[in-house]
């Protein structure tokens, strides 16, 4: 039964290759699967622009994401825990967050460049904006959703507020925090590529790479680059899932 799921994709690949071969699909719009594989090879070993290899592009992109994502976690998780804990702080900060949150991260690009210039800081800032809100909101809802009976149970064992915070609220909201990190990471990865379209100082980055491939009309490398971006995103998501099931063993 398992192989049935591969029938349609494999068939479509063959059809695509065939239609490209006979010239129904013009290769300057959509290169054939085999040409895309060669494009991938060129990205790996020749580089786009030449000598800027795929590996380094991916490294720079991942670094930018990790930078912005890391700061988003460092700010979002503690803030979310505190906002979930205290209704008063939630009422104080909540409206401001609701005001800023609907602004798409990409709309921040001009101001980010003005503030930080073109470079890692402005890219990380954009990633931060994309990842921060899902992390914050999921952390808050994780704390708020903790069954009040756990608080009573802890208090009946004479737990002080500090114990409740560290022994109930934090562990109890971890699954939700993970969810927020996962969603945030997904958004961050998408935001990154767009942020790199507008320019990078170092000359590296997956978004920058496929924009350059467009400039010199290499659609095979554009699509190979897109696939790489998708696969890395998939891998990150998978890694988060694996980490989550390792840490949240009690689910």
């Amino acid at each position: 039964m398992k192989f049935e799921r591969y029938i349609l994709p494999v068939f479509l690949l063959f059809l695509w290759q065939l239609l490209s071969y006979v010239g129904v699909i013009p290769s300057y719009l959509l290169p054939s699967p085999i040409r895309i594989i060669f494009g991938f090879k060129d990205l790996m070993f020749v580089g786009m622009p030449p000598e800027h290899l795929l590996y380094d592009h991916a490294r720079y992109s991942l670094y930018r994401v990790a930078y912005g994502f890391g700061i988003a976690c460092l700010v979002g998780i503690p803030l979310g825990l505190i906002m979930g804990w205290s209704e008063r702080i939630r009422a104080l900060i909540g409206p401001l967050i609701e005001l800023v949150r609907p602004i798409p991260p990409l709309a921040w690009i001009p101001i980010a460049i003005l503030w930080f210039g073109i470079g890692i800081k402005s890219a990380a800032f954009i990633i931060f904006l994309g990842t921060f809100f899902p992390i914050l909101l999921n952390t808050i809802s994780g704390v708020v959703a903790i069954n009040p009976i756990f608080l009573d149970a802890a208090r009946s064992l004479n737990a002080k507020e500090k114990d409740i915070f560290f022994k109930v609220l934090i562990p109890g909201s971890i699954p939700s925090i993970f969810l927020g990190m996962r969603i945030g990471m997904g958004i961050g990865w998408m935001t990154l590529v767009a942020a790199e379209f507008t320019g990078v100082k170092e000359g590296y980055g997956l978004g920058y790479m496929i924009m350059t491939a467009r400039d010199i009309q290499r659609p095979d490398e554009i699509i190979a680059g897109m696939l790489v971006i998708g696969i890395i995103g998939l891998f990150i998501n998978w890694a988060f899932g694996a980490l989550e099931s390792k840490i949240v063993r009690w689910r």
Binding site: D152, A153, S156, L157, N158, K160, K167, V168, R251
Partner: protein, 248 residues
């Protein structure tokens, strides 16, 4: 001797709703007392007040002559839904109170293992609550409370969600433990059979707003036979008292 005096005259107003009215009783050290009453009559609220988790609108709770006004480790509370922390293993759940008290790790784990054995949980000490049966979870919850050595143990329908066989087993297990340890227990249930089987004294509460309508001394010798004539007489009397308190 410990005098656990609970003198309430309360008029709890929660959203303008009277829940408990002038509830007064006195429980002696080492006594097993049950509270029986129709569901939703405010039994849980009463226990929370005794445990210091909620304030009474009026009246006071005294333990050894001292008022309980806020949370305390002198009073232990066992919940119906077990309320085990799902992210902690059996052993970690049992020792959390000691952890909060600041007992060092080695000592609390040793004490915890002692309770794991005493409660028949050996082999399950590193399992998470979701991997345990209902009966086991409730044993963990009782162990978590008793390890703190509370002067009074409050139990809020602890066996309410168990099947009847497991329930009977746990009742016997609890009695065994109580006879060995001489704990002072206030046990809330809506199951009359359970109250008769376990208690020295049974207090019957009315429907909301709850007051104590009658009290029964259960003098049947232990170990008790659930189906004995004496037990049945008391059971019949309580049931007929409760019949008048049916929630309409």
């Amino acid at each position: 001797m410990i005098n656990v005096c609970k003198t309430f005259s309360l008029d709890r107003e929660k959203h303008g709703l009277e829940v408990l009215v002038d509830i007064s009783c006195r429980i002696e050290e080492g006594e097993f007392v049950s509270l029986v009453g129709p569901s939703g009559c405010g039994k849980t609220t009463l226990l929370k007040i005794i445990a210091g988790l909620e304030r009474a609108t009026r009246g006071r709770v005294l333990l050894d002559g001292f008022e309980i006004a806020s949370q305390t480790d002198k009073v232990g509370l066992v919940f119906q839904e077990y309320a085990l922390f799902p992210w902690r293993t059996t052993l970690q759940n049992i020792v959390i109170g000691l952890e909060i008290m600041g007992v060092n790790k080695k000592e609390r784990l040793a004490a915890g293992m002692e309770y794991v054995n005493m409660f028949g949980l050996k082999g399950f000490e590193n399992r998470y609550p979701c991997e345990l049966s209902g009966g086991m979870q409730q044993r963990v919850a009782i162990a978590r409370t008793l390890i703190m050595g509370p002067k009074v143990v409050l139990m809020d329908e602890p066996f309410g969600s168990l099947d009847s066989q497991t329930r009977n087993d746990l009742q016997e297990f609890l009695l065994d433990l109580w006879q060995k340890r001489q704990d002072t227990v206030l046990f809330v249930t809506h199951n009359v059979d359970e109250a008769v089987f376990l208690s020295d004294e049974i207090l019957v509460l009315s429907k909301r707003p709850a007051r104590i309508i009658t009290r029964f001394q259960v003098d049947c010798p232990r170990p008790r036979d659930r189906t004995s004539v004496e037990c049945n007489i008391i059971r019949r009397e309580i049931l007929s008292t409760l019949r008048g308190e049916r929630v309409d």
